[in-house]
Amino acid sequence: MLARVLIRPKAGVVDPQGKAVERALPTLGFEGVEGVHVGRLVELRTDDPDRLPELCEKLLANPLIEDYEIELEGEEAPLSHGGDEEEA
């Protein structure tokens, strides 16, 4: 099963990356964009999605500073990233 883990800075934790992107946007002509936060996306395959929260808390995210969300895709669902030999 394909899982996507979205990791983002917790609310209240200063996010200088998000701020830097936000500040850069008006200089490119994109006005009025606010609340930019930069996080990470981790894609993985697993037969045991029940263990994903533990995996996230132990390694993928640091629960002190980051929130995470797990998205699961059914095995039949099309995989959006091509070029994976295992799926060929």
Partner: protein, 223 residues
């Protein structure tokens, strides 16, 4: 003579300076990250650098290195452990020290000499210092902004676990409450972002960093 063990991870870069600093006080032994063996050392230094490329988050992967299990057991037994910069990040990620290190407020790598104030002189790595003493030590990092949630920070402060603070006006990275280093509850594990191992000779501006290594040595010889 005190025997210091200095861990070497793939991507460490300050282990030779750390070992050289230890050798001014005692003996130094480099310990490989893949070995489950601390070779009977009296104190352990987790040095700076970019362990495992800092992938995911600084220190996140190094904490799972085989040697870190031994370091955790050594620390649980009361053994003195010092984490410097990336080593501090590793110890925080491993849950051996409270808090986390976030990217600098400026998002820039910074490298400068700063003054630290010793806030706690009871730990294994500050026992040779006096509370309120100023140490001139360089700091160099990209992710050095100390963070803990407010309630946790209050608890850390109340328990006297803030080991070092940046001197007023010298906080280089936006660390909360100017925290530069913390200790665990027992006081045998200490971590800090600045680099005491780079301040061991007046030739390079300061020898104040030696105070930390002297502290651990004093403890080891007393034991």
């Amino acid at each position: 003579m005190t025997r210091f063990g200095v861990i070497r991870f793939p991507g460490s870069c300050d282990e030779t300076d750390a070992a050289a600093a230890c050798e001014r006080i005692g003996e130094a032994e480099l310990l490989w990250h893949g070995d489950r063996d601390l070779k009977g050392v009296d104190a352990v230094v987790v040095p700076g650098g970019f362990s495992y490329g800092d992938y995911l988050r600084a220190g996140a992967i190094a904490r799972f290195a085989p040697v870190m299990e031994e370091v955790a057991a050594f620390a649980a037994d009361g053994g003195p452990v010092l984490g410097i910069c990336n080593g501090f990040q590793v110890l925080c990620e491993a849950g051996m020290l409270p808090g986390a290190l976030l990217p600098n407020e400026s998002l820039k790598f910074l490298c400068r000499q700063v003054d630290l104030i010793v806030e706690d002189d009871s730990s294994s790595w500050t026992a040779a210092c006096e509370r309120g003493e100023r140490l001139s030590i360089p700091v160099k990092n990209t992710s050095g902004r100390y963070f803990a949630p407010d309630g946790e920070l209050d608890r850390i402060e109340a328990a006297g676990q803030v080991a070092f603070r940046y001197a007023p006006g010298q906080n280089p990275n936006g660390s909360l409450r100017d925290v530069a280093g913390v200790r665990n509850e027992a006081g045998n594990v200490v971590g800090l972002m600045p680099h005491p191992e780079h301040a061991v000779d007046e030739l390079t501006g300061s020898a104040d960093g030696l105070r930390l290594f002297e502290s651990a040595a004093r403890l080891a010889t007393a034991a």
